[in-house]
Subunit: 353 residues, 2 copies
DNA sequence: CTGAAAGCGCTTACAG
DNA sequence: CTGAAAGCGCTTACAG
């Protein structure tokens, strides 16, 4: 009985075909390893024939360069880490998609690290990213006034923050809450609304203050008064619904003709309450939300006009900035507030376009 | 003017402190590199004093092993790739969270690859994963009857599929749609409902057939007839709403006393329509959804009882299976249908627990 | 118990 | 134009 028969009997794990290396390519092409390397990387000078022959051989053999070996000598791993606190949430998701999409085109792969708001988990993930020699780090949060529990000091690689609190000495990209809110309210004013209320989330969020400011500013520029004060509660449908029920109690002359909501859930709850009591949206009262949580905003009856924070774009831009840093390009520190975009549907009463 | 002054003037990028390597640790501890390596990896035998001294030195110097160098010799990178078609969606998200959480504890990092349903992007990502020498791959989809546009043949590393179509020769984990549906309907029956309808998504989804089968099976076991046929439409609130409006037209004797919905959005639309027309949920009509899309189900009025596909668990289990494969443990091929879990809220009329 | 040497798969000066 | 050599940061037989 020879070795092969034996292998059949004892079910030896099939020997995975040894990966083809640059050494195999060189041998097959009849050149040295250095020449093969140069041909494959378009470096140095050689006759086009040699280069082509080597490339063809590599192709035929199914050669895939080993990125780890390459990283070891070039000191660039072409990987980055995405540290996020919001793995379940809808904020990091588009950021991650934008980031990953932009990176893959540049040959960079993204490690996903779920922090779960747990300092210990954060520490472990950070250490893993160092061991794996990532070229840089994106730290993504779910709100602009908190940062993930990470000790980023004395890190050997550049860091870019997204949708998270940051110091002036950091490099950070966040949505422009003030601008987004202002544009939404200006749009309502342009549509002829005059009594515009604001119903929004808890005071503890910096975004709440910024959006309220945008609301006030837009009204001020149009010489309109604020309709009451910005009303604050949870970021929930339940809160929106409760406010809606309260509005119904008021004599209609005391009611706003539009409400700018701090997020889509509040807007949805509000609209549902109004609809349930026969107040027509947008005819009697226009509503605008915030977040443009697509699947949600589009399903509201009527579909919700909402401010989109362009998070995918944010991820893309943050990634580009990080690669600039990695490449040695200087990036001015500071917190960049990136423009939001108003997505017009029907709840604001704009004519269909 | 010496070099330092010059550096100040021309703004040379601050030389990043050279990373401390095992060679630095060895020198500082007065041992050879091999001894340092063995001490740090708990290999070989040496006096505890030597081992401790080396470890202390490593600690003090802030030594972080270079995972790429290690991978090069051990042929294990301690990375895996997550290839997904659903970067924006809510299916892969919990899968990714469960996977990343389980992996980090075992020292494995996860690359996030967004396929975007684009074969070219898929190809690029797959190649990147090969170059980066991942130990294995998780392929996650958004439905159990389609697979991402990937050519997985002749891949040098193991692959595990999650929530995606797979061959019998693959290793795959999917939610048990039949079982989840059956449990939901059985629950309604146990609560005394007898006229249970089913409103669900498009015929083209395998999950639709499986869930309808579960509905039929639960009714059959209780000797109850199906209430009409499984009604199929979009996976949307709008469809649920339309069905709700139709139900209202029917004389109440011809109405179901419960509706099992194929997803939460349909359930939500249905409930909203019923509520708008004065039919009380759950008193007049009980509703159960599918997906347990938390933020959505909990906000429905009344909060929605729904089937949870345990996707986080699915991600965790798939990761564990993949690591088994990587470690050489044999894993039986086949498609595993993992149990779903009914999350009881108020829309089904169960007593508060 | 400890260390010198070879090697993982590449790239990059440097000779020829 | 091409190749031999050194080296990236580790681990692992193998000597001593």
């Amino acid at each position: 009985m020879d070795a092969e028969d034996l292998a059949d009997l004892i079910d030896v794990p099939e020997p995975i075909a040894a990966r083809v290396t640059i050494r195999d390519v060189a041998r097959e092409a009849g050149v040295s390893i250095s020449t093969a390397s140069k041909a494959l990387n378009d470096q140095g000078r050689m006759t086009p024939e040699t280069r082509d022959r080597i490339r063809t051989v590599a192709q035929t053999l199914g050669f895939t360069p080993n990125a780890m070996a390459r990283a070891l000598v070039s000191q660039r791993s072409f990987t980055i880490g995405l540290l996020t606190n919001d793995t379940y949430g809808r904020f990091t998701l588009p950021v991650a998609a934008g980031l990953a999409g932009a990176m893959v085109d540049r040959g960079v792969s993204v490690f996903l690290c779920a922090l779960e708001d747990d300092p210990e988990r954060a520490r472990i993930n950070l250490r893993a990213m160092q061991e794996k020699c990532v070229d840089g780090l994106i730290v993504a949060g779910k709100r602009i006034d908190r940062r993930p529990p990470l000790d980023l000091a004395r890190l050997p690689m550049p860091v870019v923050h997204v949708n998270s609190a940051a110091a002036e000495s950091d490099i950070a990209f966040v949505p422009d809450d003030f601008g987004g809110a202002k544009a939404a309210v200006a749009h309502l004013i342009a549509l002829g609304r005059r009594r515009i209320a604001h119903v929004t989330g808890p005071d503890s969020f910096a975004a709440v203050a910024l959006r309220a400011e945008g609301w006030r500013d837009a009204l001020g520029e149009a010489d309109l008064p604020c309709f009451g004060v910005a009303e604050r509660g949870d970021w929930s449908e339940a809160f929106g619904f409760a406010v809606g029920c309260r509005l119904i109690m008021a004599p209609s002359a005391d009611r706003p003709d539009a409400v700018f909501c701090g997020n889509d859930q509040i807007a949805r709850g509000l609209i549902d309450a109004l609809t349930l009591h026969g107040i027509r949206v947008p005819d009697d009262l226009a509503v605008v939300g915030y977040d443009n949580w697509e699947i949600f905003a589009a399903a509201t009856r009527p579909p919700l006009t909402s401010v989109d924070m362009a998070l995918t774009e944010l991820g893309r831009i943050a990634g580009a900035a990080l690669l600039d840093l990695v490449g040695g390009t200087r990036v001015e520190p500071g917190i960049r507030r990136m423009p939001c975009r108003l997505v017009v549907r029907q709840s604001c009463g704009a004519p269909a376009n």
